[in-house]
Amino acid sequence: MTQARSPAGSGAGTGIGAEFIADATQIPTALTFDEVPGVVNTLSPGLVHMDIIDGTLFSGTVESTSADFVWNMTAADKGRIVGITYANGGTAMDSTNGWELNFINDTQADATCAYFGLGSGTEAAKATDKDVAVAANTTVTLSNSIVTTESHFNRGDIIQVTADRDGTAGVGSFRLLVSYESQGHV
């Protein structure tokens, strides 16, 4: 969940900054704290199940703008995103309704991990990796073609997923397939 109390650095003078005393300087210093992911994936079976539901998403999800949904998970070990299995609801993913799913590594300077487009609308078309139409009540599996070492994550990295919508009627869920490997982020 997002931080609500402003750090003293940016909020100096507001009286609302949370501070701690730095060991080296003993000077009160603005306290910034990590986002807490709503999901922690596990080594077994290496799958994270995420539901995309209009309006109210699963625990830990924050609606950052009127059209975007952002949530996080913590990587349990080194590895990469292999792909997703998307189960569509009753609305077809097309030029009117759809999703852009952007997976970035928040811990590693927002390095791109995976990028999927569902449908063919403005947002879905942004996805550079996959862009597929999905009929109503249909399940599709998309593999991640990004295999660079930069796209890998390390143990404890926070993977942030942003979903941008085309239209407002899209409902569905996806399973995220994660592969644990010896290769971490470089």
């Binding site: 969940m1 997002t2 003078g13 003993q26 924050v62």
Partner: protein, 310 residues
């Protein structure tokens, strides 16, 4: 024949030695009173004081999983690292021959302790060095170290008001604020008509009327001003940030200290401890004093140093 001085010089004491002695004048010691002396430090030479953070706040939505944050903790370390001695001896022959032996003995014995207390006073003044030299040491947007902005790098009332601003922004308690300044600062204040003609900056009767027989100068911007001759002298160029921004160089400048609550902390392991004994090997009376303690800048946000030239 007259009993004149020319022919009877043996009856004239041309050089007479007084019974009294002339001593050096001594400055009042007062910095010690603004150190928080810890007494719960009975053994060992390093004291650790854990530091605690404030707690965080997050947004929450109905039904969401709660988030529990780990408080941030740290450590402050104080070491007993000051160990001083002072001593002298009176040989037997001097005791036999000197008319002034009793005066000298009592005088120098008490000065052993005085010397160590002056050393402690200087060490406390030297805590201004806990800040980063030639740096504004900005905390919460306000400088905690800057050069006096008057012509010739002397103090101005704006400097004192900026010191107040620095402590206010750093959440330092409003009460019990003091500043220790070189007498040249008082001299400059007495040149300011607003200070000596009316009480617009507080009850400055002492400054206006020429002091009151103490080191207390008056009260400015929430600070009780005291004069001290033990302050450090430094030469630094500091680029100040707003307010009163700009680069200034203080040459051989007095490091005047503006202090809030708990700026300094200390632990006294051994107060000046006098030992006196007769040394048969040298046929002398020996007097020796030791003192051991540690002091440190405890809350950097509670210290403002204003460098001013004379």
């Amino acid at each position: 024949m007259a009993l004149d001085t020319s022919n009877n010089s043996s009856l004239i004491r041309t050089n007479v030695w007084a019974n009294e002695v002339k001593d050096v004048l001594q400055e009042e010691l007062m910095l010690d009173s603004h150190v928080r002396w810890i007494t719960e430090f009975p053994d060992g030479d390093t004291l650790n004081i854990p530091t605690l953070s404030e707690m965080t706040v997050r947004n929450y939505s109905e039904g969401a999983q709660v988030t529990l944050d780990d408080p941030t903790t740290g450590n402050f370390t104080l070491s007993i690292d000051k160990y001083y001695q002072s001593g002298f001896k009176i040989p037997e022959k001097f005791r036999h021959d000197s008319f002034y032996v009793s005066v000298a003995e009592s005088n120098f014995v008490q000065k052993l302790t005085r010397a160590l207390l002056e050393q402690k006073e200087s060490d406390i003044a030297n805590l201004q060095g806990g800040q980063t030299a030639s740096n504004p040491n900005t905390i919460n947007g306000v400088d905690h170290r800057f050069v006096g902005t008057g012509t010739g790098e002397v103090v101005t009332l704006a400097d004192m008001q900026k010191a107040k601003l620095a402590l206010d922004k750093a959440k330092v308690m409003r009460g019990n604020r003091r500043c220790f300044v070189d007498p040249t600062v008082t001299y400059q204040l007495q040149q300011i008509s607003n200070v000596i003609q009316q009480d617009v900056y507080g009850s400055n009767a002492f400054v206006r009327e020429g002091m009151n027989g103490t080191a207390y100068v008056g009260r400015f911007a929430g600070f009780d001003l005291f004069e001290s001759l033990f302050l450090d002298t430094v030469t630094e160029s500091i680029t100040a940030t707003a307010p009163s921004a700009g680069a200034l160089t203080g040459t051989a400048a007095h490091a005047n200290m503006f202090l809030g609550e708990e700026a300094f902390i200390g632990a006294m392991r051994a107060m000046p401890d006098m030992d006196a004994w007769y040394d048969n090997n040298t046929r002398s009376d020996v007097y020796h004093v030791t003192m051991r303690y540690g002091i440190k800048l405890f809350r950097p946000e509670s210290l403002v140093v204003v460098l001013t030239e004379s």
